[in-house]
Point group: C2
Chain length 337, copies 2
DNA sequence: TAGCTTCACCGAACCGGTTCGACGAACGGG
DNA sequence: CCCGTTCGTCGAACCGGTTCGGTGAAGCTA
């Protein structure tokens, strides 16, 4: 059942059917009704492939995962959900680009074969060849996060530097002097992930500013790693009284490690960081943290991308978000020296 | 840069280029090399839309979310990840069908406009019109979960009845006599979600069999709901010594509620259920539970769907999984009456 | 050297839409 | 009554691939 079939049954030409359905040219009320009736009867829907071929737009956006990331975190989940939802509101579908080792091939599939009109790049790295790649292929994109040189490009990001610093100041204000930093996994740091780098930067600088004694750690994206990481921290410096983490997935393990070491949160030990509120509220005591507004970021990314698709020559825009720290129950006064 | 451009530069016809690239007809080694060279030079990749139009297949599968589900859980995340990965291995892309209120429209987009070759339906309900809908549209699909009458259809599911029963037997064996059941949210139960229904069935029957005193509850998909749910349970019957849950997202809240009521897990109170191991290991003490093999289910679903796409007349297949209970640290002997 | 295959390639049709230019009928103005 | 618009519709071309049938040249046999 194609447009020709509809045309035949309605006794008009194919072009008339097209115009009647799209409304791009006037069609008499009489024929429009006749066509609509046939369409309804047969449950006809124009083929997306044919339409995409004809007008050069697929009405699909690609969601591209990181090359090194074979692991989805809770934050990414919220993000995906909001992207899909926001895209639907603009009549776009969302195509996922496979992560994993063979990512280059899938990148080519999505973008080289023009399956998508535009793309959203997740988990950006400071030096991210994907951004240039997209520009070369002339495919509009919006990055989640900033590269080292974000000028002139489209992105929505979190100000990890400021957020990590805010955590440090929060702890320092409470009187903590010896603080540890629990980062994302080492391979991600080495790969140049911006959240890991800028977060580390912000932490280090703010700590120096406040004259704190600090140690920094990388930690795998799972509970077991969090547990061993805490053990390591307390082994390296038993006088540590607080930690800041960017690592959502390790959070439960961090808590467990502290409990195991006999440290009560928040009485003996304070925990804070940058974590989606969904997760911050899951642990007990609930985590005082800068809430990652994953859902909002997804929505904004789609908005920006749609604007870019509609106005190819629009000047670059971006959103840098700095959510406040939500005071919950995982931080308390540090022991005075 | 289309196939005509390649043909011109290589000095051959468009069909020859097509055959050279697809290998569906022999092409002399000489011309094949010449064509390949031009292709490499220009970085040509055939348009997915045109190809889809020509051969009637989009090389894309749809992942359809539940109409009533506005919330993604951890299990669903693992699932999505494995589906995307498995699909990539078979050279398929994955298109997400927006969830939310307006799901019917997106369902039409994906399936009516034939954006996908096949679909995977998540969070199936016992009476799920989507299954029939798909059959009507003649689109091959695989369901995650069984409808009330799964005969003759393709699916991969979890034996929730048996799993919930196993949890009951585990607790009964430990000596628990008064046990609560924490189900998915009420609206999902009412909507007929199979996991909620079969899990409840299995729990109820096994409890009757073992002569236990039970109460069943529905609980929202978040920590706060879990917390209030536990409060309600202990209010309704303070002698309750254990609970079984299907509700991953509430898990953290359940633990918090118990701690708040002064019940120590597992000394005073046992917790078990059906939960992705990722989550079971996040809480402290780690949850003794039947681990939902979300990743495996995703992989199997894709396998089944691909088989169905390749062999349209293949007889229906399915996988019913019954993972064993992983003994961790959240259950212990019940108080003897 | 005629006759038959085989090989390598070409041209045209097709997939199912969109869009542009044209054309006939109705209509209004002078 | 003739001419210029306007309105509604049609035919054809096009998007960028795939695929079928055919054709000329080369190779082999008799």
């Amino acid at each position: 059942m194609n447009i020709g079939e509809i045309a035949k049954r309605a006794g008009v030409s194919r072009s008339t059917v097209s115009y009647a359905l799209s409304g791009k040219r006037p069609v008499s009320e009489d024929t429009r009704r006749r066509i609509q009736q046939v369409v309804d009867e047969l449950g006809y829907r124009p083929s997306a492939s044919a339409r995409a071929l004809a007008n050069g737009r697929t009405s699909t956006i690609g969601l591209v995962f990181p090359p090194a990331g074979n692991h989805y975190t809770g934050m990414q989940l919220d993000f995906i959900g909001s992207v899909v939802e926001a895209a639907a509101a603009y009549d776009y579908d969302v195509l996922l680009s496979p992560s994993g080792v063979d990512s280059d091939r899938s990148f080519q599939r999505l973008l080289g074969e023009r399956r998508v009109d535009g793309a959203i790049l997740m988990e950006i790295r400071l030096a991210d060849d994907r951004v240039d790649h997209l520009a070369t292929l002339d495919i509009p994109s919006v990055a989640i996060g900033r590269t080292a040189r974000p000028e002139g490009s489209w992105w929505v990001g979190l100000d990890h530097t400021t957020l990590a610093a805010a955590c440090v100041h929060h702890l320092a204000d409470l009187g903590h002097r010896r603080v540890a930093f629990v980062n994302r996994p080492e391979q991600l740091l080495r790969a140049g992930y911006e959240s890991a780098h800028r977060g580390l930067d912000g932490f280090t600088k703010a700590a120096a500013e406040r004259g704190l004694t600090v140690r920094t750690y990388c930690c795998g994206d799972d509970a077991a790693s969090g547990q061993t990481c805490v053990a390591q921290i307390l082994h390296d410096d038993p006088a540590t009284t607080a930690l800041v983490t960017l690592n959502e997935a390790a959070l439960g393990g961090l808590y467990r490690g502290l409990a195991q070491a006999g440290r009560h949160v928040p009485r003996d030990f304070s925990v804070t960081g940058v974590v989606a509120n969904h997760w911050a509220e899951t642990v007990t005591p609930q985590l005082t943290a800068a809430d990652v507004p994953a859902a909002e970021m997804g929505r904004l990314a789609v908005e920006l991308l749609v604007e870019r698709l509609d106005h190819p020559d629009a000047p670059p825009r971006h959103h840098l978000l700095t959510p406040p720290i939500s005071l919950r129950a995982s931080t308390g006064p540090g022991t005075t020296p």
